[in-house]
Amino acid sequence: MRALSIASTGMLAQQTNVEVIANNLANMNTTAFKQQRAEFTDLLYQNIQTPGSQTSDQGTYAPNGIQLGAGVRTAAVYRITTQGDLKSTGNP
């Protein structure tokens, strides 16, 4: 069943998301640690009926096609390099 395998790609992606967030939380007190963020993209689409395909010889076209997506994948885990707070330590 396709629906289950498509949904499972979503679960894998969310698992990656939680792992990245957990690592951010674990490094809350790490000096100069930069927050990371997971980014996702959709997988390829299977064309059943291409949008804009002709539906009759009178020149009518299908406004929407039938495209079935295959799920999601993690595209990147990128670092957000914004400035962190400066903390005085008193160490000469």
């Binding site: 396709r2 980014e39 993209t41 959709d42 096609g65 495209q67 799920g71 999601v72 957000i80």
Partner: protein, 249 residues
Amino acid sequence: MDNSLLVSLSQQLAAYRAMDVIANNLANVSTPGFKREAAKFEEYITHTRPAEGEKGPQSLSFVKDAGVMRDISQGNLEQTSAPYDVAIAGKGYFAVQTATGMRYTRDGHFSLDANGNLVTSQGYQVQGDGGAITITPNDGDIHIAPDGTISSVVRGVGNQIGKLKVVDFADGSALTKQGANLYSTSQTPTTPATVNLQQGALEASNVQPVIEISHMIEVMRAYEATATLSKSQEDMMRQAIDKLGQMPS
């Protein structure tokens, strides 16, 4: 073969198709710029020979795929604070140059490649009004204005680097999805009258998980109802054969 079994089968195939579309929506609940889709079905009527004692052809309606409708409503803007993350508030698409031609996306997560070009997460160059946009380390902090102008201030002097190209199409729902958050189309891109970009944010997917799950339950119920129909049809045939077999000859 009995007609009612064929009719139920067509409904079950449609339910599978609907479920695939819903599963893809749910899988992409965190994909920036993703637009939810819904499978639409239509009636397909055939005519059969009249049953005994009836006149004229009888019509029999099956269900078949009509298309997949895309909901191109705005997704929520999600703050990321990353300097090269840009969200489109309102209409429009970013133009991206790929090896197979121009592609369009609403996923505004960009970064710099080794040559300082602004690229998508797949490494495709994001198009400005004059081709690729190059940002050097000397440019300092980048500011992206709502109209797409990319600028920075170097030693107190303003410096315009480029302008993000935002295009729109006559029929936004007729774009073909290519995966990797990209769309392709044969339509001619137009320049939208107003462009509203926001730096440091991404447009979240417009999928609402609760609504998708309720659709999923709806499709499941319809599937189960049809399965019950096929089952009772089968029981009826079985009983008929049983009773006929027991008749004294």
